[in-house]
């Protein structure tokens, strides 16, 4: 179950700097990559998954609850990661450094909602 590419493009149409949206399966396999620019490299994908797993482990060990939205910012790139409540699918939105975090947060949540309500094929 993945999102329609058109839906992704529609939702992200007014978001400057976004490069790719990756859908991960509960087993952390890449199910779908939608790119507006260069596709994400393997290092970025393993970084995103690694951080998500690390945060989940830390939160579980310390009783702080399951992680929601995660944002990683480096000199040239921003990545937002969010696990959908249903099905255990996860979305990662990657973009250039100038990508607006507040707006991309809203867009990502919108996409997760679409995924959960069945806007997926």
């Amino acid at each position: 179950m993945v999102l329609e590419n058109q839906l992704i493009l529609d939702v992200l149409s007014d978001l400057t700097g976004w490069e790719s949206l990756i859908v991960f399966s509960p087993r952390e396999e890449v199910l779908q990559v939608t790119s507006a620019g260069a596709a994400p490299d393997d290092a970025l994908l393993s970084c995103v998954l690694g951080v998500a797993a690390r945060v989940k482990a830390c939160a579980a060990k310390t009783g702080l609850g399951a992680p929601g939205l995660t944002i990683i910012e480096s000199a040239a790139r921003k990545v937002l990661f969010l696990e959908a409540a249903r099905d255990g699918l996860a979305l990662a939105l990657s973009g250039r450094a100038e990508m607006n975090v507040a707006l991309s947060r809203i867009k990502l949540i919108e996409l997760v909602k679409e995924l959960e309500k069945g806007g997926a094929r």
């Binding site: 970084c47 690694g50 690390r54 830390c58 702080l64 944002i71 990683i72 480096s74 000199a75 790139r77």
Partner: protein, 356 residues
């Protein structure tokens, strides 16, 4: 003849005495009769750390001779006594537990010939007048007047007694037994922590106070006590090997403490913790922040150097910012991360620091 200064009015007299005994200061318990002096000395018994070897000398009362683990040193020959006591102090150098001498009713000749020459670790009971004690070579720096009796502290007050004040504040309404338990527990913690830090330093050049505060789960006042008691018990000064939190970071952390939503703040230089402040009870080892940053830096070649990280958990936000140092926070989930970042940037700027 000069009179000793009274103990500071604001200080709890028991905290002052506990501090003196714990720091191995020299004390004279003076009363009109030996029985009254002994009773006062027994009042101090719960202030003596359990790990110290008690060395009882002089006119030892029956009840004292049954103190568990105490060594008795009898005889009145000043020369022989001095030799015996000095030997016990020397044994500390080769690993024996620190000793605590309690000398019951020493004659003036013993005060001048034996006790006055020892720089630490004794308590004497006496019926001698203050003038006679001073004539015997003792400088009485502080006095706690207790009706007809008094306790004189031979050493000047140079160290903070914050931990002792806290202990008596915490046990203000408790029984003497509970007080004893809390005192002994703190003393054991300080003793064990000193040994652990000393052992740790055998494999490292230095440690940071931030790492000690976090790993040992102690506060700054306890670390200060560890260093003081280490100097007095073991004649070993660990302070030069412990890196303090940089002053700008310390000021920043104090300011962060005023933000009600921050539960934990940790500051790192590379992978070394240099600042740590836990404002509310929360479990989150600060090395977890480093683990996350290490993982987030994996894509450095294509994405560039790590700048910041934010994760919303059920109860807290995990926020990490790279700047002059690496700043990490555990903040209540009600906080707005954007607003928080702006606030942190403003605070850092106030201390000449910044994030990228």
């Amino acid at each position: 003849m000069s009179r000793p200064a009274p103990a500071p009015a604001a200080a709890n007299p028991n905290a002052c005495l506990l501090s003196a005994v714990w720091n191995r200061n020299r004390l004279v318990v003076q009363a009109p009769t030996p029985a009254e002096a002994n009773a006062l000395a027994f009042h101090l018994r719960i202030f003596i750390p359990r790990y110290r070897q008690l060395l009882l000398c002089g006119d030892i009362p029956k009840e004292a001779s049954f103190l568990s683990g105490a060594r008795l040193l009898r005889g009145d020959d000043p020369e022989a006594l001095r030799e015996a006591v000095l030997q016990s102090f020397e044994e500390e150098e080769i690993g024996s537990p620190p000793i605590q001498v309690i000398y019951f009713q020493p004659p003036a000749a013993i005060v001048s010939g034996v006790l006055a020459g020892l720089d630490r670790g004794w308590i004497a009971t006496t019926c001698l007048a203050r003038a006679e004690l001073q004539k015997a070579g003792l400088t009485l720096h502080r006095a706690l007047e207790l009706g007809r009796s008094a306790i004189f502290i031979v050493d000047p007050a140079t160290e903070s007694s914050k931990l002792e004040d806290m202990i008596f504040e915490q046990t203000r309404d408790s029984s003497r037994e509970v007080q004893q338990y809390v005192i002994q527990m703190n003393q054991s913690q300080v003793y064990l922590a000193f040994q652990a830090i000393r052992d740790e330093l055998q494999t490292r050049d230095s440690v940071t106070s931030a790492a000690i505060l976090e790993e040992y789960g102690i506060r700054q006042r306890t670390l200060d006590k560890i260093l003081t008691v280490g100097r007095r018990d073991h004649r070993l000064d660990l302070a030069p090997y412990i890196r303090d939190t940089p002053p700008d970071v310390l000021k920043f952390l104090k300011e962060v403490g005023r933000v009600k939503t921050v539960d934990l703040a940790a500051v790192f230089e590379g992978e070394t913790p240099v600042g740590y402040a836990k404002f509310r009870e929360v479990v989150f080892p600060s090395r977890y922040f480093l683990d996350i940053v290490a993982m987030a830096s994996l894509a450095r070649e294509t994405s560039g150097a790590f700048r910041s990280f934010e994760a919303g958990l059920e109860t807290h936000h995990l926020l990490i910012y790279q700047g002059d140092y690496l700043y990490a926070f555990l903040v209540d989930i009600q906080e707005n991360p954007f607003r928080f970042r702006i606030e942190i940037e403003r605070m850092l700027a106030g201390h000449g620091l910044k994030i990228r």
